[in-house]
Amino acid sequence: MEFTYKDTKMKGVLVSISEGNLNIKLVNGYNLLVPGSSISDINIIEKIQQNQITGETSKPLEKGTRKVAFIGTGGTIASRVDYITGAVKPVLNPGFLRESVSNLSKYTLDINLLEAVLSENITPDDWVVFARAVKEKLSANDGAVILHGTDTMSYTASALSFMFQSLTGPVVFIGSQRSSDRPSSDAFLNLEGGLEFASSDLGEVCIAMHENSSDDRVALHRAVRSRKMHSSRRDAFHSMGTKPLGIYENNKVTISPEAKLRGEELILNEKLETSVALVYFHPGLTAEDFTAMTEGKRATVIMGTGLGHTGTRLYPVVKDIMDRGDHVLMTTQCLYGSVNMNVYSTGRELLRLGVIPLSNMLPEVAMIKAMHVLANYPEEDFRNTMLSNLRGEMLEREFLQEDY
């Protein structure tokens, strides 16, 4: 269209109209945001079809010898600019892979794009959907990659980790911190490494993300030890308190001897008891707050201070929870290190009340594990199962790491 804005004749394409402003792409490429009232002499020359603007030419993907299931759930890794609101929205389109992922020709992707969910909107119900999708695809493929938003990727991956009692191949979650419509996106390298991990001998649920700020190494994190530790950096994901399970570098994958290898059988226990509370203890938290948060919950995971403490003001509530047959579990809000409730008298008091000390299990993982254990194990085994190292969620040894 042609139009006049502030006495200036201009030419451009109307991209959108939002809140009374016209978003016009000028011939020089700039978008102009102008109030509808301020332009005149509009002269529409041509209407451009929507798909001409956003469409991408779609060549079929090559077929390689390695077969990997490719499951999309949404997330930055598969998101593109939303020209309506101007923000990035999840739109899954694996076509962008073709040009950008250097090792793609080695693979045949068995694609299943689930309905895209924003990572922050994912709930335990979605975990079940994802788990079923993995189950369906895994038998016919060497492994699976799952594209997922980074915000809650550790939660979903941990949930799948517990739900799959045994896996016939690796399940590798891949996210990105820079959306794939940016030349600097971390998506490409993460996918490249993720595919390699997904065709390895692993039998675990893991997360593959940049190991550092450079585009040279992808780290593979065991789901139940992973945590997003930075809101924006490429290397936001950490293997908490330990080394990554694998590294992809120079087109080569190295896997730690501690990794679990693929099993013979795929066993999915998809039941979850979602009535589990996660309580962040702090000096302002009152007994009433604690009561309100734990009411009706089958289990409560406390993020206690230090080695696993809470104020004594919460003890009566803890006792009430125990008395009604529900559980209280202790983790540390420090995130690194173990709880050890033998060291201080208050810790011992909590142990005496029946609180279960979860060693160095991450709080979020403890919560998810409790959901799994409550739904799939006999009630009387709850304590022992929580204290058993089911999927490597507890570190048997902790070393002097510098970057914790």
Binding site: N31, R182, P183, R233
Partner: protein, 599 residues
């Protein structure tokens, strides 16, 4: 088909202070020693198509190394989203738009301009139109200002080696005002005049960074064969020579183009001729062979006599392509024998079999690269044949220009989604209007009245862009005369002596101390000397004897001593004291004391 010359300018000015989308300073650039290595991937723009410049860049498969500096943070590393826009920079951009008679947009909305040569860690430059449709008056009538954009400056390139481009992050994100004129400029002189007029406005504003490369110009040139963008023209004189060079170049290209019609460019096929060169006398080839590279040769159909012959320089056009892929250049039949290549020629010609009118060339490269060069040469020749000249070129010091990359299209722009559009409300605009740069006359009279300096001094200070410095120095020294002297005499002298540009970051602490200690001119000049020439650290300088003035009883006893050696008189006392001590003293005091003693 040639038509009249049309020239447009893009003038880029770095604004000093803080960066555009983070809290880092624009000045200071100590490297932290850390580096990060990255790759960039060409992605599609808003309309789903790849930008030609991006596709081209991708074919070069380079990786990028970034040195972190103390004026860069996670944003420059593309590790966090942009912070809020720097309000000071926006205000200045608006004021400059007003000064150049532009309309101002209703909302500033940022775009991402895809640039995948690594000069932006994100792979794009953030840019927004602030003003448009303005003009400046010139002797040839008004030259239109099409747009004024406020953008992020790119990384500073340190070196390129083995397919890795090394950048510093110090410059990335510095606010950059881009003032683009309409192609209303008619010739070299007019271009220089227009650049001067706009440049003056910027200098008068005092907002530009005080750095050698704070102002850079691009020249858009066309004479009917499409727009050529000539990048990075540093000086006004280079504008002139770049335009002349390009005019000449397009003229002979237009002359040759019809002769190329029907040439089978596909005959260009590089063959490995390394073996012929094992015993070569060419030092440059021998050196490259030793480094494991190979020599390739091809026939150049129909190019004999056009490669380097009078005004024809097709060899250079082809060398430009080779250089982009890291090759040192080419050696072609119009200049061979030469460069120590002679004995090999018979064998070479036997292999390449150039026909009537065919030239040939050799090039040192690697198997991985030579295919890319071959493709690029062919496609370049096809373009030249049809006089399809639009491209981005870069200027050398001598004004000659070289191919840099294809001209980017509008495809390379899409909205910067991390920054919400900023409505320009009345308050913002009013604030901006209040700082519209004054005219030279206004400024001169202001300086005269504020600082009590001469019109002559004021004028020099203003046209050298030092008005802001005068204000600052006067504030520190509490003495505008002294400040003026520092600017007009002491510093230029110091720069001459050291051959270096005096940096304000170094200077200001010294002036602050000078002000606190109420140093007079002599001490200050002595101190400047010790500080910049002898590189005495500030702390040592402050405790040095050499800047302690010789005065009062001490001066008197010095004179008495001299007098006892040989009677002093007002005429010889100053040199005699100077011969005895390095310490500063007031000659007038000395003469006065001599008179007292002599009485």
């Amino acid at each position: 088909m040639s038509s009249k010359v049309m020239v447009g300018l893009e003038i880029h000015i770095q604004l000093g202070g803080r960066k555009l989308f983070c809290n880092c300073k624009t000045e200071s650039s100590n490297e932290t020693g850390k580096t990060v290595e990255r790759r960039l991937i060409a992605t599609t723009g808003e309309s789903g198509k790849y930008d030609p410049a991006a596709v081209y860049e991708k074919s070069r498969e380079r990786s990028f190394k970034y040195s972190l500096t103390d004026n860069s943070c996670l944003l420059e590393l593309d590790e966090e989203p942009p912070h809020n826009i720097n309000p000071e920079a926006l205000r200045k951009a608006l004021a400059m738009s007003m000064a150049l008679n532009c309309k101002v947009v209703d909302r500033v909305s940022y775009m991402r301009k895809i640039v995948i040569d690594g000069s932006n860690t994100s792979g794009f430059q953030r840019t927004s139109i602030v003003g448009f449709n303005g003009y400046v008056e010139t002797s040839n009538g008004p030259v239109g200002i099409s747009t004024i954009c406020l953008e992020e400056d790119s990384c500073r390139k340190i070196e390129e080696k083995n397919g890795v481009v090394h950048y510093s992050l110090d410059r990335l994100g510095v606010p950059l005002l881009e003032i683009a004129t309409e192609p209303d400029i008619i010739d070299e002189d007019h271009a220089v005049e227009t650049a001067e007029i706009i440049g003056k406005k910027l200098i008068l504003s005092g907002w530009a960074r005080k750095a050698p490369d704070a102002i850079r110009q691009d020249v858009n040139f066309s004479m009917g064969f499409g727009r050529v963008e000539i990048k990075g023209v540093p000086k006004l004189s280079t504008i002139r020579s770049a335009i002349s060079y390009e005019k000449e170049r397009q003229t002979w290209l237009a002359e040759l183009a019809p002769k190329f019609k029907g040439t089978d460019w596909e005959r260009i096929k590089f063959q490995d001729v390394t073996e012929m060169f094992r015993q070569t006398k060419s030092k440059v080839i021998a050196r490259n062979l030793k480094a494991g590279m190979s020599v390739y040769g091809t026939v150049l159909p129909g190019l004999a006599g056009f490669l380097k012959n009078g005004s024809y320089k097709m060899g250079k056009e082809l060398a430009d392509v080779a250089k982009l892929f890291g090759s040192g250049g080419i050696m072609h039949s119009d200049e061979l024998p030469g460069y120590g290549v002679e004995d090999e020629l018979p064998k070479l010609q036997e292999l390449l079999k150039p026909g009537e009118g065919d030239g040939y060339t050799i090039i040192v490269s690697t198997p991985r690269i030579i295919g890319l060069i071959e493709d690029s040469m062919k496609s370049r020749l096809k373009k030249l044949e049809r006089m399809d000249l639009p491209e981005t070129r870069v200027v050398s010091d001598d004004g000659s220009t070289h191919l840099l990359r294809p001209l980017p299209g509008g495809e390379r722009m899409y909205p910067e989604t991390d920054i919400q559009s900023i409505p320009l409300d009345a308050i913002l605009l009013e604030n901006a209007a209040r700082i519209i740069p004054k005219s030279e006359e206004q400024l001169i009279s202001e300086l005269i009245s504020s600082y009590g300096i001469s019109k002559q001094d004021a004028s020099v200070i203003i046209s050298s862009g030092k008005a802001q410095s005068l204000k600052e120095y006067t504030g520190l020294l509490q003495n505008s005369k002294l400040a003026t002297r520092i600017i007009l005499q002491a510093l230029p002298e110091m720069e001459k002596k050291t051959g270096e540009t005096i940096s304000e970051t170094e200077l200001l602490p010294l002036l602050e101390e000078a002000g606190k200690r109420k140093w007079d001119r002599q001490i200050l000049e002595r101190a400047l000397d010790l500080y910049f020439v002898d590189k005495l650290p500030l702390a040592n300088l402050l405790s040095s004897e050499m800047i302690k003035p010789l005065e009062g009883d001490e001066l008197k006893s010095m004179i008495e001593n001299l007098d006892s050696e040989e009677p002093v008189d007002p005429k010889n006392i100053v040199p005699r004291i100077r011969a005895k001590t390095n310490r500063p003293f007031n000659p007038a005091d000395a003469i006065k004391l001599v008179r007292e003693i002599s009485q």
